[in-house]
């Protein structure tokens, strides 16, 4: 299965990635090569085979709904690119 330059743009948008114009063609080729390589999977007979998500088929364990983390606001704020009064700053979204 081969994907078009329009598809590449669409996946980039889904991935929140901006493609540099001069690299789009090469990236499209690479992705097409990868997809045709993984197409070998289609030949496998997987009828009646359950998909496998965890090697031991373990299920998600739920913990009791109690407070287990203390407030770390100041510590966490140290890594923020922009912060004011303990709030993360982003470009204006509401005019």
């Amino acid at each position: 299965m081969s994907i078009s330059p329009e598809d590449i743009q669409k996946i980039a948008k889904l991935s929140h990635l901006q493609l540099e114009k001069d690299k789009t063609e090469k990236l499209g080729q690479d992705i097409n090569n990868i997809l045709s390589f993984v197409d070998q999977l289609q030949a496998a007979d997987t009828s009646n085979i359950e998909p496998m998500a965890h090697p031991m088929d373990a299920e998600q364990i739920l913990r009791a709904d109690i407070v287990s983390e203390h407030d770390q606001r100041e510590k966490l704020a140290k890594n923020a690119p922009a912060i004011e009064d303990g709030l993360f700053l982003v470009p204006r979204v509401i005019e």
Partner: protein, 489 residues
């Protein structure tokens, strides 16, 4: 001092042969002298390491302490370390100082070990050559005329240990990222059973495949490391509640009657003749110790790499969606609006291979393609696991090569991702099945180390370590050091 095992270092510390401060200083001096050649470390924690060493010396003087107290080591830069830059080899996290420790980091701290610094790696653990690091590639210390790759993604960890810039290092393995660099650099590396080592605080790449493990100069040292790393962790919902054996105690368990499986899919016409010879010599040694070898089949071997390159990118695309330039990590300059900020922060913060995988993953998970790619790959994954389960009905362990060949040259694989992916052909199956697998030095090809791989049944790490340990008792491949200009050894 630089050739001593973890156990010997612990004894030296207790007998006052040297202090942890002297030992740590000696390693820091070597790092200062040779890291420029090798690029093994992204961050060196000079001051913290010496402070930790001082505390360890006091602890040892005060009475009985853990074997790791005062022993230096390195962390792959994927493990969160509180107050110490954790970049994951990416521009995206080049300013990230974690507010907390990964469970593995906590375990080493509690044991009293001294973290020397954070080791170089392929960006977000995606790669098999360390060439995808934002900080430039680590260099294989065995390189002479031309620069060779150390393997990846745990390339910096492998270089640090092989070049004697650390006695041991942590690594992580999603498709071979511990075993392949261990093989390329002449080390013993173990990917434990999925769920054996906590993933809490380990930057996520492909969550159903990622597993942390030891990289060391011997199986004995790897056993000592795994002892610290392994165990159930309530903070990782995929970690498994299973008692941790005493790995060091099992190192000499008898190999008589051990059933070794040799997969026809590994020992075929594609196997490099020199590699085959190396493995045959190892097999002879095991047979002399009373092991019995038997041909087996893993019929779905060829589908492992394709299944992996659907599952791993799909999970990566989901995991890496958290990097948006809002709460931590890289943010682009002068964002025009929210979408511009997301798009440019991610486009500028991620490298080429990471973006490629995010897009392949997004495609495989997108509407209309999910069944054809992701679901299909997860089904093939079960077929691969079933192959192993059938094999383990008649054998105890599976032996084969770790890599198709020894370390290749920097830039040699060009920029064709599929060629690079095929390097992982022998290692990926164990990740898909979640099985433990170990690589140990088994010989050399053209003067460069190569590894044999042992794949075990679930939670059979002790057996893998014992087999490697007894192999190492009769061979000296694992004690060979890279005596090159790069290392000054």
């Amino acid at each position: 001092m630089f050739e001593k095992s973890i156990k010997e270092l612990a004894e030296g510390l207790r007998q006052g042969e040297f202090s942890s401060q002297e030992l740590t200083k000696a390693y820091l001096d070597r790092i200062d002298q040779y890291n420029g050649n090798l690029n093994a470390y992204i961050t060196v924690a000079h001051e913290q390491a010496l402070a930790d060493a001082r505390a360890a010396d006091e602890k040892i003087a005060a009475g009985p302490a853990n074997i790791w107290t005062g022993i230096p080591f390195a962390h792959k830069d994927i493990f969160c370390t509180e107050g110490l830059l954790t970049s994951c080899g990416s521009k995206m996290l080049s300013n990230f100082v974690p507010p907390y420790d990964a469970t593995v980091a906590t375990n080493f701290k509690q044991a009293g070990a001294v973290c020397l610094g954070k080791a170089n790696m392929d960006e977000f653990a995606m790669g098999g050559s360390n060439e995808n690091s934002f900080y430039g590639p680590a260099i294989n210390p065995w390189s002479t005329d031309t620069s060779l790759v150390p393997g990846g993604s745990s390339g910096g960890s492998a270089v640090a240990v092989a070049a004697r810039l650390a006695p041991a290092a942590t690594g992580t393995d999603t498709g071979g990222s511990i075993r392949q660099p261990a093989a390329f650099c002449g080390l013993t590396g173990l990917k434990p059973t999925y769920g054996r080592v906590s993933r809490y605080g380990m930057v996520a790449f492909a969550s159903s495949l990622d597993q942390g493990g030891p990289m060391a100069r011997s199986a004995e040292d790897a056993a000592a490391m795994l002892q610290v790393m392994a165990g159930y962790d309530a903070k990782d919902s995929t970690s498994v509640k299973q008692a941790v054996p005493n790995y060091s105690m099992h190192l000499n368990q008898d190999l008589k009657g051990l059933r070794i499986g040799l997969p026809v899919e590994y020992f075929n016409k594609h196997l490099n003749a020199a590699m085959q010879k190396v493995l045959e010599d190892a097999i002879k040694l095991f047979e002399a110790r009373g092991a019995v070898c038997k041909e087996i089949s893993l019929p779905h071997t060829e589908l492992a790499v394709p299944a992996y390159y659907v599952i791993a990118p799909a999970e990566a695309s989901a995991n890496l969606s958290r990097f948006d330039g809002v709460r931590y990590g890289y943010r682009c300059d002068d964002p025009q609006d929210l979408m511009d900020m997301y798009m440019r922060s991610r486009s500028e913060g991620f490298g080429t291979e990471v973006k490629r995988r995010i897009m392949v993953g997004a495609y495989a998970l997108s509407a209309g393609y999910y069944d054809a790619y992701y679901r299909k790959a997860q089904q093939v994954r079960r077929l691969i696991k079933n192959d192993f389960m059938t094999a383990f009905e008649t054998v105890d362990v599976i032996l084969g090569p770790t890599t198709p060949s020894p370390a290749f040259g920097l830039g040699e694989k060009g920029d064709d991702p599929v060629q690079m992916y095929l390097e992982d052909i022998y290692t990926i199956s164990a990740n898909l099945a979640g099985l433990p697998a170990l690589s140990a030095p088994a010989g050399t090809i053209d003067g460069l180390p190569v590894g044999m791989q042992l794949i075990g049944n679930y939670f059979d790490e002790a057996r893998l370590l014992a087999i490697a340990h007894q192999f190492q008792a009769e061979t000296n491949w694992h004690t060979q050091a890279p005596k090159t200009e790069l290392t000054g050894l």
